[in-house]
Amino acid sequence: MNEFVYLPENLDEALEIRASTGAVPIAGGTDLMVRYRRGSGIPPQFDFPVVLIGKIDALRYIEVSADNIHIGSATTLTEIFMNEDVPQILKLAVGEMASPAIRNVATIGGNIGNASPAGDTLPPLYILDAKIVLKNLNGEREVPIEDFITGPGQTILRSDEIIYEVTIPIGNFDKIYYRKIGTRKALALSKVSFSAAVNYRGDVIDDMRFAFGAVAPVVIRSREIEGEFKNITFNELKNREGEIAQKYSPLINPIDDQRSTAEYRRKVSLRLLKFFIQNVI
């Protein structure tokens, strides 16, 4: 039994605690407080030391530089949703997450660190080529989000590091699309989600990106497949819909769980792709 909980005043203190104890960071607590709850009147019990970082100002910011937008890891989903500079596709996903009371405390760093296949900020972040900045006492490193998350609940975060920032390259898309399938509108975890972003010149596709959430151990984005369908016209894209779906099909490896079935997830995710190609683009 370990009841160690640390309340650092600032980032340096938090990093020192991480380095010396490996305590697990808790920001909003919306995942961990539920996972380790024990019932009425009893504090949750973690089998590891924890460090509360939600109040650290140095982790709560949204800033714009020449090429990037920088979001501090303890920035809440509400703060992201209300911000003018945050890319629209991320805001579309954030706006459909949980409920206002949850979004007021849940953080983007938490959603990334939790590394759930159904984490709803993740598909837009994959599409946006987001990088995750990790900090420890010695400095920082920056890794693409798809390298950071390695499996369900698995990341490459070292025990002395804290997720410090999400860095998103500034860029515009001519068309964005986000669709989440859940049991109801509020407070539902995704059964499936589909995100898309496209740039075009006239009717020729310049850049087309797709991401599928909750259909595999990690979010599915394939730069290889995307690359095969560049510099073609909308008409050609529509004609090759079956071919595209066939290419994505082997990547989609969903599971049966309490929220949905593998079969449903497979069908719906490919139908969302087809719907996007035929009706949205």
Partner: protein, 156 residues
Amino acid sequence: MHSEITFTLDGERVSVDCNPLRRLLDVLREDFNLVGVKEGCGEGECGACAVIVDGKLVNSCIVPVGAVNGAEILTIEGIKKTEIFGKIADAFAQMGAVQCGFCTPGMIVATYAILNQNPKPSRKEIVEGLSGNLCRCTGMNIIIEAVEMAAKNIAR
């Protein structure tokens, strides 16, 4: 492990010396006898335990008390002392928006948060603002209408 945690509770400066992982909900109910803060699901899904922390609606069942050190907390008891509470309560009564009453404190806290953000909310904004609060007597529609009525009466 104990820590001293200080915060403002319904306008009064208070402190507790306890495990910082205790749920804010338990601290409010057990240490301050604020039993208007209800526990429904205990996992952030129902909104019965809603309170306002630093001006924002939160579910107190998933907030460790250590996370509110220095914060300003407003519960249903504090909201009762505000000017608009009477209008909200009247609207809930007139619309019959209370049946068993268990979700009502949370609904009123959420209503307060909605009206604080926008005194003239659209129906869509009301629905969104109440989306984290569940009523199991199936009265959601009349609760939404009660918030509309409260907004109208406050503006009058």
